[in-house]
Amino acid sequence: MALVDDDKIISEYSSKEYEAGFVTDIETEVFAIGLNEDVIRALSAKKNEPEFMLEYRLNAYRKWITMKEPKWAHLKYTEPDFQAISYYAAPKNMPKFNSLDEVDPELLKTFAKLGVPLEEQKILAGVAVDVVMDSVSVHTSFREALKEKGIIFCSISDAIQEHPDLVKEYLSSVVPVSDNFYAALNSAVFTDGSFAYIPKGVRCPMELSTYFRINQANTGQFERTLLIADEGSYVSYLEGCTAPSRDENQLHAAVVEIVALKDAEVKYSTVQNWYPGDKEGKGGVYNFVTKRGICKGDNSKISWTQVETGSAVTWKYPSTILKGDNSVGEFYSVAVTNHFQQADTGTKMTHIGRNTKSTIISKGISLGHSNNSYRGLVKILPKASNARNYSQCDSLLIGSNCGAHTFPYIESENPTAIVEHEATTSKVSEDQVFYCNQRGLDTEQAISLIVNGFAKEVLNKLPMEFAVEAQKLLSLTLEGSVG
């Protein structure tokens, strides 16, 4: 009997519209589709890169062509045709901007629609923003203010030009070129992304933030992010993403690398809202991302927080290598899938140093016909004495056509390690919704409240300005045109 009502709930939620699904009409320079060594050479030349970068890219490309797409994830999709994608698309007429007045007003409108705090006024609120549209970084705010503290925050293209030594030293130091199929592809063709370096002992005074947007049709977005927190430094980094609604699938294959040296702390928060495809599962972004951090020095800490509501297919495992003694890795995740979305996401915590600690809190929410999987590996190496891990994976099902799966892997090679894993699966019951209805909340508000309550532990970990946005996004994802 409850099934009838569940079905009603599903149908009410199945007409959600994607709010960021507009296309910006902007002049764009696009490479012809296809990938080969010439394309990579052209791309590298276009970006005026030093020789070591071209070598790096070609090396990655040569590895990539020998590799196969991973098939182990709990995902079903048609393999992208890598020769049907253009590997470079950039808004035209945008060399370097000295002030916002010089930026194409269409572009500014795009970001205003997305709520990116580009305007000076909002910048004063204290968020430094790097915006990446299609392949290139459009605007980095607050660069000067950060410079005074010795903080480098710029696009990775600029970093390659201006700080080649740092790039050379750290690029692919966490995610090797041949780490996996998509990481290799990214290394060969990445066009832009963000770069940040926090010097020794500096506490970054503001949240650093990057917005990614895919605009052009038939392009892939391959961005590369590299964060280096030098000894005793601290930084909180936010990342947000959107794409227009398109019938064809778009590919997003990013790589994020974080290096935390001794006593450094990095908080990395993501709100991912790539276009998820329509109600029938047509279109949407393939989000194949490799994110990894290394707690290289003792007492360092890396904390990943992600709210994943978008993408047709997500394949993403923000991971931490706990190399330094007493280092700490954290992973807090909320993943919502609706309609025909599929997510296979989780984390990998590799304990190498002594007294290393990791915490994993994963909340999966499935609606419609979607499939949501948590996949996690906790690995304790022989030298990691007194390592500790606590994992908690909770799944919430709304309706009876969706799926939740948990794939926890634990490999412990040290007898002093303590590893705990807890998992629960629950359903939004018709009783809960009716209880809320009886107090005056409509079904949409009820589901939103229940989901937010379920995800609270993770949402609480987000920085303030992001938490509000994430909550709104969660509600939007669940929203439909009821009655």
């Binding site: 629950s426 005056g440 909340l441 079904t443 409240l449 229940i450 609270k456």
Partner: protein
């Protein structure tokens, strides 16, 4: 003469084809307390659910007027905003949603419906405080998730607290006494009595008469086999207590 708040005419309702309510007639006026008693399975809780708008039950015949408006066809949240409150027999847990947030969402919907301005955070918290004292609810429950890990008594107190917050015109208490010890029963009943005034009404559904020692009804109905078979004053409850339900069954089978 006081206004009619609720008027039920020939209400029939069934679940999965089985008829549970077989023609209920009931009229409740402003300021009145009605009790509905009856043996298990007589349709008491079904009546409460149908009034609150639970779709599990199919209304096959009859009419319900609430403050002059047609209640049937009105979605449950609308009924709530119009001033109909159901204190659940088994209040459900909503993990992670604090009572504060839950009530904030509910109260703001009710105020919007009435065309009132939203309360400021300060005003809202002050209101919470007052109502909590009124129903003797412990302050610590405030930030706990709705009903999560609550004892039976705490759950029922929480229902009365929410009733106080939403200030309904008609409150339906669905076996609020079940699972309560005598102290909790006293607190819950005294909360209800404090909320009672000349403009609101209560429909108290109970199996036992002991709750009616604390919440004194103006009218007592006996529901049996989907119909109201007897109506009387509060002394009817005592009579039932004394004789049990068998004589009712004998009279009507």
């Amino acid at each position: 003469m006081s206004k009619t708040l609720l008027k039920i005419e020939n209400l029939k309702a069934s679940i999965e084809g089985k008829e549970i309510l077989k023609g209920i007639n009931l009229e409740i006026k402003e300021g009145e307390v009605h009790a509905i008693m009856g043996p298990n399975g007589s349709g008491k809780s079904t009546l409460a659910s149908v009034l609150a708008g639970r779709e599990l039950f199919e209304v096959t015949d009859g009419k319900i007027q609430f403050l002059g408006k047609e209640l049937l066809g009105m979605p449950p949240e609308e009924r709530s905003r119009e001033g109909l409150f159901l204190a659940f027999q088994y209040p459900v847990e909503i993990p992670g949603v604090s009572i504060v947030n839950f009530m904030k969402a509910a109260v703001s919907q009710h105020r919007e419906h009435k065309g009132l301005k939203p309360l400021t955070a300060g005003e809202f918290l002050k209101m919470m405080q007052e109502k909590k004292e009124l129903v003797e609810m412990e302050a610590k429950l405030n930030n706990r998730a709705v009903n999560e890990g609550f004892s039976g008594g705490e759950k029922k107190k929480n229902e009365v607290f929410q009733m106080a917050m939403l200030e309904p015109k008609l409150s339906i208490l669905d076996e609020t006494d079940s699972g309560l010890d005598i102290d909790a029963l006293r607190i819950v009943a005294s909360g209800v009595n404090k909320l009672k005034n000349s403009e609101n009404s209560f429909l108290v559904i109970t199996h036992y008469q002991r709750l009616l020692d604390y919440i004194v009804p103006d009218v007592v109905h006996v529901l049996y086999n989907g119909k109201i078979v007897k109506t009387g004053g509060k002394e009817l409850a005592l009579e039932l207590e004394e004789k049990g339900y068998d004589w009712i069954k004998k009279e009507n089978d």
